[in-house]
Amino acid sequence: MKTTMPRRRVALARFRMALAALPLVALTALAAPAAVASTPGCGARPVTSTKGASFTAAEALCRTFFEKGVVDRRSFSVKVSDTTNLRNNQVVSVSWSGAHPTGGIISAEQFASAADQEYPVVLMECRGIDSPDVPAAKRLTQKTCWTATPGERVISTPSPYSMWSLDADNAKDGICTERYCNVPIPLPSNCDGEVAPGPQFWLPFDAADGTDYGVGPTGCDGAPPEMLTRGEDPTIIPSDTTYAETALNGTGSAKFTIMTSETNTSLGCSQTVPCSLVIIPIEGINCNANPQVSSPSYECESMGTFPPGSLNTGANPYPPAQAVTGAYWWSGSNWNHRISVPLSFTTPANACANNQQAPLDFYGSEVMAQAAEQWDPAFCLNSKLFNVNVVQLPEPVAKSSLQQGFIEAAIQGEPPSVPAGQKSFFTTPTVQAPIAVSGFAIAYVIDDGNGAEYTQLRLDPRLLAKLLTESYPGTTNVQDNWKITGEPPGSGPNQCPAKCNSAYAAMAHNPQSIFDDPEFLALNPGFHVPNGIQPGPAATLFSILSQSDVMWALTSYINADPEARAWLNGKPDPWGMVVNPAYKGIKLPVESWPLLDTTTNGPDYTESGNPFCVGALGNGEAKVPDRPLIDDPQDTLANVAYNMQYGIAASLISCNNSPLTPEYTPLGPETLGNRFLIGLVSLPEAKEFDLDTAALQTYASPERETDNGPEFAAGRLFVSPTASSLQAAAALMQPDPSVGSWVFPYTDFPGNAKAKGAYPGTMLFSADVPTRGLPEPDARDYGKYLSFAATTGQVQGFRVGQLPSGYVPMTSGTPASRSAPAQKGLLDELDYTEAAAADVEAQNGKVPPLVPGPPPHSTTTTTTTTTTTTRTTRTTTTVVTATTLAPGSTPSTTVARGGSGPVKKKGTTTTTTGPPTIQPVEVAGKTLGVEAGVGGLALPLALLVAVLGGLWSALVVLRRRRARP
């Protein structure tokens, strides 16, 4: 071998190296086009990805002109926060970047007029699956997309060159490019006088039941019932179709409200009918020609007449360029840029409507509505169980109806006060079984002057008192009235002529609205008042008219604060503001907030300048007290939440301008950028509608400054409603045997350091069910419901039988952290509810003790001391294996309530206190996985042995070879 010629060897070696290098070259050559292909090209389908419930997508936006090629190209990417387990009216957030900045901005994004912005991003909900592979009946098209008004589906143009005929994509995709598209000839009689001359494009709507509506201008060719047609005011009812604006840097965000068939049957989205959120970033029409017409707005190749970022105030001489407005969302060029986000829905709230059985009724709290929507289908959809219904009724009314025997069960937010001389509020033995922890929130929608929303608000009880007691005048007439009477502000009441109302004098120095209040500004530094703020709606806390335990809780919180109480009794705040004399000394807490201010307008006051509203309501001088009009309390907390969601000021300070029937009307939606509204809502609704909630004061250090200096806010702590702050608050609750339930210690605020992390708006909701006198099947069913609520119903989630967000499971505690001690779950309350379930089912006339003794049924030992260390966090998940759910066989499930922590004695019990049938438990449990154990490692072990054995043998052989002489 050594005699081989070196040259040949060298050549051979070189040849081998070249051969080895060849694959590398080939790979590089292959990789290069792949790298190029990864940047999305014009016309490529969007690249989507989902992570959990959120959805992201990216695509290239391109606008091309015939003979000019691509004139604008952008990379658009969008993210949607929630796309699974959606409920009706749930709000999802959509945020994007890389879009063309919007010009000619119209701030009311959800109204049809906003379609006329240049380069908006259009969000709409459409039915169907966006794929060419599904049959046509199930496919998503422009015709299955929902718009609230017919105007968004009809284009008529006087120009002979209609934009849709100039759209190159329309011809390619088979969309009509004629003069009259989808216009029935002859015109229906309804359309006489509605149709403008010239080319028309009518986009029909295909409803879920198969009906095809031609729609047409003002819906004259048939419109689905949910669409707003002629005569209805489109400014009052917002729709979910949004024309959102993009900022100058290409980013933007919007909130989109999902509608299911519960609200919109024509669109018909539900668990069985797939729907998508369609996001269309408007990039403009791809023109196949550019005829020059006199008015530039009809030029196809216009890039826009408004500079990006400018507002459409009506002052611009040219209207928005049609080629780039949102009105052409359906045209091929824009439609092909759509991103369809598939949506999936959870069990609808009306799932129980089809159950024909007479329901088991609970009467009570609005705050429990969301929980009931998810819990009730676990019962009504199970044929072995029963139909159940939570009827919304103000809690005080429900409690007194129960006391009088008109109803069988109530849900309360606070235990009822026991009348003097009686042992209990109720006439028969009644359990007050805790079933959920939630509460109220102070929601707000406030814009700063720069077009964004405030995300933080701090309120102390005195500010809440000021808002509730109508102590902010809200209008200028109080100060103005001095001019009428000739008295300057600041002169004392002694100089007030007889006409003068002492209330005017007292409140003459009060700030007009909360944003003028120095106390508010001290707690919320950096607050900037936009110029267009409406002072009237900003002078009140929007709340409810009816009795409610929520109002009781709110007023208890206010009453317990020494500063607020002193102020209500007449002591001025550090800046000199005083309480409205009509409310001075008011006794709190109350179940419904009274409207006590009776001061009336001066003769010159009207909001709209129209004398009719003032004149007709009483002899030329309006006699209606105006502050209650500003307050306009609603019927339910849900109405307040709705107004907060859409920024609607409910204050009745606008006039309908009708000479014959003048009426005060709500001010309506406030303009984007100038909104200032604060309202009382329930926490579950705040979570569902994604409302901002205020942080309430929990602690004020005794050493703090109380005068009106700059240090006013120092030493005060404010807490927002979060899961941990609600848990901390729930842990503070103490059992009060005199009322038979747990009470929230409002007196802990603001002085008790233990309450620092506790949210003051927390409320414990309990079910009141008598344990004597109920008929047998109802008693058993109530018992099952209570037992469910205490166990499975406390698992948080979006599925049927689980606890939605806005409630905090009573089963979980929080471990100790550096800033807070460990919180145990509400174990005492849960034990009470389970014992109560047994008593209700047995109808034995007993009520379980609040502080438990030895538990009656459980086979474990529990300590009767109240030390919190013996009970650690305990999760009561029911453990069900997949194999034992066969309905044909008897369920061989064991309900294991696992104990954790050092209390091993609590182990697994196979009995539950309550009904033996466990079907509702099957519905919402967790999957029990089975571990593979050692056997699963068989193959890796084999590999290990192979490698080790091989190495060993090789080493031995090598050693021996080397040792060989």
Binding site: L381, A886, S889, Q919, L939, A942, L943, A946
Partner: protein
């Protein structure tokens, strides 16, 4: 097992010290020519020092090969036989429709294109041995297509890994099951791991199909599963009523991730076979010669080794 083999190798080495020239032993590369006495304990120890690890390594490699590749071949053969049998039964309408069904007989054909499952026969029973033929139907659940929750187990690593890719299915994917009662199309509603919420209650008269397999994350995914995974699918259409007779319980060996301890007898049988073959080979090594021993012995040895591995696999979890 390795102890037995090492002894066998020792015997081989001893015999090879006889009149023939010392042949390079494939299982041991020790150098017997240098050893003075043939039964020197040190020589035996030296030989064993090399023979044992080498033997172990080879067997481990064989086991890996068997687990990942050869068992798939075995399953394929079984499936093809079962397919012929089931086809005949479908044509003659003699498929089992009511439980209890004899363990091992085919009950359904399952198809799930999005998980790469094409025309696999589902047998009755879910013990480790039965799942070697393909997916198995859990006996205490109704048959697929009947009302209620029907459960099918499948392996995810070995024996063709029929359910190896079902965890990649997404909501809406179609699983088609053909039984004697018709063709049933199920749509996947969720993929569950331990700790995932259970699916919602089934409506009365509805049918749900749950496919159970094993999976793992990280470095163990694909070959060393740690936990079970479940894929639920809901029937789109009308379910057949469940005839009475569904067993209430199944044997412990049929439960997920359980092995079959009754395989001990089979394992001992195969090990004895292995010993016999090794003895026979070492005899023929001397009598007939190396080459002849190779030709005759290798296939026999492989066959016995295959049988042993087969029995050994029954000691591993049934969803492996």
């Amino acid at each position: 097992m390795t102890v037995v083999d090492a002894d066998a190798f020792d015997l081989v080495i001893d015999l090879s010290d006889g009149p023939r020239s010392p042949a390079p032993d494939t299982f041991s590369t020790s150098t017997p020519s240098r050893v003075s006495s043939r039964r020197d304990p040190r020589a035996i120890a030296r030989a064993a020092l090399l023979a044992i690890p080498a033997a172990l390594a080879v067997l481990a490699v064989w086991f890996l090969l068997y687990g990942l590749v050869l068992s798939g071949v075995e399953q394929h053969v079984m499936q093809s036989r079962l397919y012929d049998e089931f086809r005949l039964q479908l044509a003659e309408e003699t498929t089992p429709l009511a439980e209890p069904v004899q363990a091992g007989s085919p009950v359904a054909i399952i198809n799930a294109p999005s998980a790469g499952i094409h025309n696999l026969i589902v047998v009755e029973g879910t013990t480790s041995r039965l799942l070697m033929s393909g997916p198995g139907h859990l006996s205490d659940t109704p048959l697929p297509g009947q009302a209620g929750m029907s459960v099918i187990f499948g392996r995810s690593v070995t024996f063709g890994a029929p359910f190896g890719r079902i965890t990649q299915m997404t909501v809406g994917d179609v699983v088609t099951v053909t039984t004697g009662q018709g063709v049933f199309r199920y749509r996947v509603e969720d993929v569950r791991r331990p700790g995932s919420p259970l699916p919602p209650t089934l409506d009365a008269g509805g049918s749900r199909l749950t496919l159970v397999t094993s999976a793992s994350g990280g470095w163990r995914s694909g070959w060393a599963p740690t936990h079970t995974m479940y894929v639920d699918a809901l029937l789109a259409g009308k379910a057949q009523p469940v005839p009475p007779g569904v067993p209430a319980t199944v044997s412990p060996a049929s439960l997920p991730m359980h092995n079959d301890p009754s395989a001990t007898v089979a394992l001992i049988f195969w090990l004895e076979g292995l010993v016999l073959v090794t003895f026979a080979a070492s005899w023929t090594w001397v009598r007939w010669g190396r080459f002849e021993t190779w030709i005759v012995g290798a296939p026999v040895f492989l066959a016995v080794l295959w049988g042993t591995s087969d029995a050994l696999m029954r000691f591993l979890p049934n969803l492996l």
